[in-house]
Symmetry: D2
Subunit: 337 residues, 4 copies
Amino acid sequence: MIFLKNDYSLGAHPKVLDALVKTNMTLADGYGEDAFCYSAADYIRHLIACPAADIHFLTGGTQTNMTALAAFLRPHHSIISADTGHICVHETGAIEATGHKINHVKTREGKLSPQDIDDVMISHEDEHYVKPRIIYISNSTETGLIYTKAELLALREACDKHHLLMYIDGARLAMALTAQSNDLIFEDLPKIADAFYIGGTKCGAMFGEALIIVNDSLKEDMRFLVKQRGGLLAKGRLLGVQFDALLKDEAYLQLGAHANAMASKLAEGIKAKGYEFVIPPETNLIFPLFPKELAAELATRVMFETWPYVTDTHQAIRLVTSWGTEENEIKEFLKLI
Amino acid sequence: MIFLKNDYSLGAHPKVLDALVKTNMTLADGYGEDAFCYSAADYIRHLIACPAADIHFLTGGTQTNMTALAAFLRPHHSIISADTGHICVHETGAIEATGHKINHVKTREGKLSPQDIDDVMISHEDEHYVKPRIIYISNSTETGLIYTKAELLALREACDKHHLLMYIDGARLAMALTAQSNDLIFEDLPKIADAFYIGGTKCGAMFGEALIIVNDSLKEDMRFLVKQRGGLLAKGRLLGVQFDALLKDEAYLQLGAHANAMASKLAEGIKAKGYEFVIPPETNLIFPLFPKELAAELATRVMFETWPYVTDTHQAIRLVTSWGTEENEIKEFLKLI
Amino acid sequence: MIFLKNDYSLGAHPKVLDALVKTNMTLADGYGEDAFCYSAADYIRHLIACPAADIHFLTGGTQTNMTALAAFLRPHHSIISADTGHICVHETGAIEATGHKINHVKTREGKLSPQDIDDVMISHEDEHYVKPRIIYISNSTETGLIYTKAELLALREACDKHHLLMYIDGARLAMALTAQSNDLIFEDLPKIADAFYIGGTKCGAMFGEALIIVNDSLKEDMRFLVKQRGGLLAKGRLLGVQFDALLKDEAYLQLGAHANAMASKLAEGIKAKGYEFVIPPETNLIFPLFPKELAAELATRVMFETWPYVTDTHQAIRLVTSWGTEENEIKEFLKLI
Amino acid sequence: MIFLKNDYSLGAHPKVLDALVKTNMTLADGYGEDAFCYSAADYIRHLIACPAADIHFLTGGTQTNMTALAAFLRPHHSIISADTGHICVHETGAIEATGHKINHVKTREGKLSPQDIDDVMISHEDEHYVKPRIIYISNSTETGLIYTKAELLALREACDKHHLLMYIDGARLAMALTAQSNDLIFEDLPKIADAFYIGGTKCGAMFGEALIIVNDSLKEDMRFLVKQRGGLLAKGRLLGVQFDALLKDEAYLQLGAHANAMASKLAEGIKAKGYEFVIPPETNLIFPLFPKELAAELATRVMFETWPYVTDTHQAIRLVTSWGTEENEIKEFLKLI
């Protein structure tokens, strides 16, 4: 079977694994107060050119999103998100379980716009409504798209206009920052977002996400909140070791670039055979529209997920590449169509 | 000023007030464990022909909705509601503050259909999604419409198919049950819904709602939940006294019928003058579409709220009648248009 | 039966009832934005000599405590309270249901001391513990005792030392401020507490409590929080009308003084007969220790509650007087012992 | 520096690390639905002789405790625990953040007794109180003690009497089951507890705990709850791989036995020098009472934590051994005293 189902089905990238093995018998203080975490945090601050940023390492995306968002909000505050946002659909109501409503916004392709923000704000006028306080976007999105720098700046402006904070879910930040159409660099992020995370789980780590808090007013007591939500790993050192290994020497971006390159080859091959995409391919998640018979046949040879777009004759599917996808898998896939 | 802004701007209907005055110096046990509450509860069980129903009296609608819904659900359960539902927009996220997501459904006019339920269920397939467990509808709705018996039975069937519970917000049940197009009676409700409430605040009481739990599996320990959410009034007797006064001798339905009759006269007069409605008038909330200039002029003589439907030339407004609306107010209004 | 069971088993004081009757058919805007509430709030600001205080009217004590405390705290913050505090035992975990731990402190007689605060703070050292952020006291306490001005100032000092807020539950403030040993006046409260409430339910109102927020940093968006927790009464005017009637012409303090006077007569009579008290009588809750046979016999003629203090031969009971207790009830009781 | 500070400051036991390395490039489905997790779960069911048990793998102890306990309870339910319980003090209010009160019980040495349960139950009589629904114990406890089989059976009996569930935190189960005074085996646990967890983090794993649900009524939808609380690791396979490696060939118990053996040598040496213990040494956490000068001197050569027991002349400290503690560390320590 060719595997194009997701980007979290291998263990860790060999560099990360080696680092874990090498440091395994080194004694380190618990709960992230160790030299590995301090080193990784320092490196991140350097990478994003934001010496005052607070860095917290957590184990997964849902945990990071719910911990950060709930920490930033008072009980009546809500979160504005595209209704395809990971927090809206794929986190089993983790956000609501912390007490907060998400204002779901219907978007065309999963990207939030300043107009969307205006629309939500205009209909939330007084204390009978929740008070939107933060926007949630992911880069790249669950639809495989990225935000350009101009788009992010426009969102920031909308946030400032409405006294809103801005949070970026970077589960696939490695792919976002290495997409062909991308014009963002690490250093731009803390200038635009109040908080964001650099995703490890889908970008080469065994597990782990690095939450970065830029806005000073959001920093206080964050370790209490991480602990309370179950995210303060006893052997926090494991996260420091991994991010250190991942981020140094640009490994992180190389892994992202590889996943994108594989997806790009795949997309080009699919286009060349005359098929279309329901969402334009931009990163490592692509969404070709195949005749139903072909989709059914592929399912016997390839592991992938279907996408909820279907016509009388065609079915959209989701193909995902990762740092571990090999070129011959792409070639084999293309032979099948 | 003519007052057509809402149905909760007077105190209590005189019958209710008299009952409160008469019983004021009678000693009664606290927290709803008194003869007045027992009598009112018995009367409700008789009225709805459901001797096994549990009755709890609470002080307001938001409180009743959040207390009941949260009591019925486990943390991963969600609630399906039309996106115009009171719990979706006008309760400041009270439901989410108890930890539960609401699956907002876009509807044409504020009424939920079996198809809406099917659509939600099909997209909630496994543990990465919340698990819908109950539907929330209001009768009459926030758009002034009612559900027919057939519509409710169809919803019930959809609920059974999907292992869902059914809850009816009866904030304006008096108006629903006395609408011209209505074919429901009190006795139908416990046969269809797992729980519902008979609204007092908007139907003649000073304050108060009577929550009725029909489904045995939802009854356990409900008084704990009411107390925990702040809804167990120390002088619970006040609620028993009011519902006793309201419900006996059909006062409740007469008050609803009066509000509807006033709205009906209003709607007929408006139609006679050639204006249209954005939602067909059915109960005591009606939504005429007026030229903008007329709407602006009316605002100087009439208290009402605008409705978020607007064209280049016209603006919809919401007119509300109540048990206290007098016929001459209607006549005066009609003179103005 | 003589009734000495609690102070919330009558309706409203006649002055309050009259005011409700008189204003019943006056139209008023909903949710506390009406002339009655504005007037009552202004009067309270005058009474406490704190022109900048924010006033919110809620329907009951549990609701007020949970709404206020949860509004003031971030998720990792806890509340320090005597373990006899109303929020600790008699509110069905309402506080915890909003997500916050209460640090229960074992005290001798239900009053919190600066030393208690120090002890809690010393054992909460880092992010593995909750972070205490506010102290909860009630005046008078659930044990019928009051805090002197000096005691409150000492608590305030301890709070300042530890960066803690201070909240006073005034469910029985009328009795506290009129106890013989009291040296506090309304004007002292906003100088000492960050927030407190003037209790209506147990002090002459039909229902209702007036929450007063003094500390500017706690005021923002409070109406959202009140609405979200189900405490924003549609006919908020009812609360304004009641507090206006209660507070003007010193009615409130007279009602408290009456309850205390009745309790005082009761206590003197009991002492005269040679019985002791497990807690020294100070306000309208007194706790005599009676031989078990006497306690049993009394139970057939008097409504009261037992108190969890019992020896081989004796049983403590709780006797409560209210604004409605009549002198002949006291005399009859004393004849029985 | 000799390290006797805790049992989570190394990485993984070499067997576990090897297994992670060997399986690193094997593709596996996400979120614990993979062959490694299935194999580990099967093995656990075999080990505890409970073929119907449900097994869930989570990443840490706080996360496991809060996820399990909150999943088992309705909002008004509380948890009975010794006030030294991990959930009471060292989890930053994680339990309360899910909405539940913990009934803290003062115990002499951190172990809960049937009498403690009776005492709590007698004071929680009606809906004004939370309703205790489950007891939380840890084995071994935070004080290094274990429960004998007879003690656990007596607690079970008390639970049955009061309609309570029973949950065992097994963060250090390896040490509990290999203590000299222990008479419990794996197979006993599902016969006594409704749910428990086998701790990995402190017993040789890199990270991870295996939650075991025995009581059928608690099993439904557990994966939803784990996901919602952020505990469903994307690469769940990592947990399966680790528990497989840990549990097979009795590695788990051998690691526990080693930690205990080291602690035992330490305790004997300390006793031999004439020092006493504030809690009798039983597993890998021991609490000697040293003269203050000695404690201060040790602090310059040994990493350990102080224990909150202090006299004018003496200070208790906590010494912890682990699977990685070496005999020469013990010898060196003993030379220092």
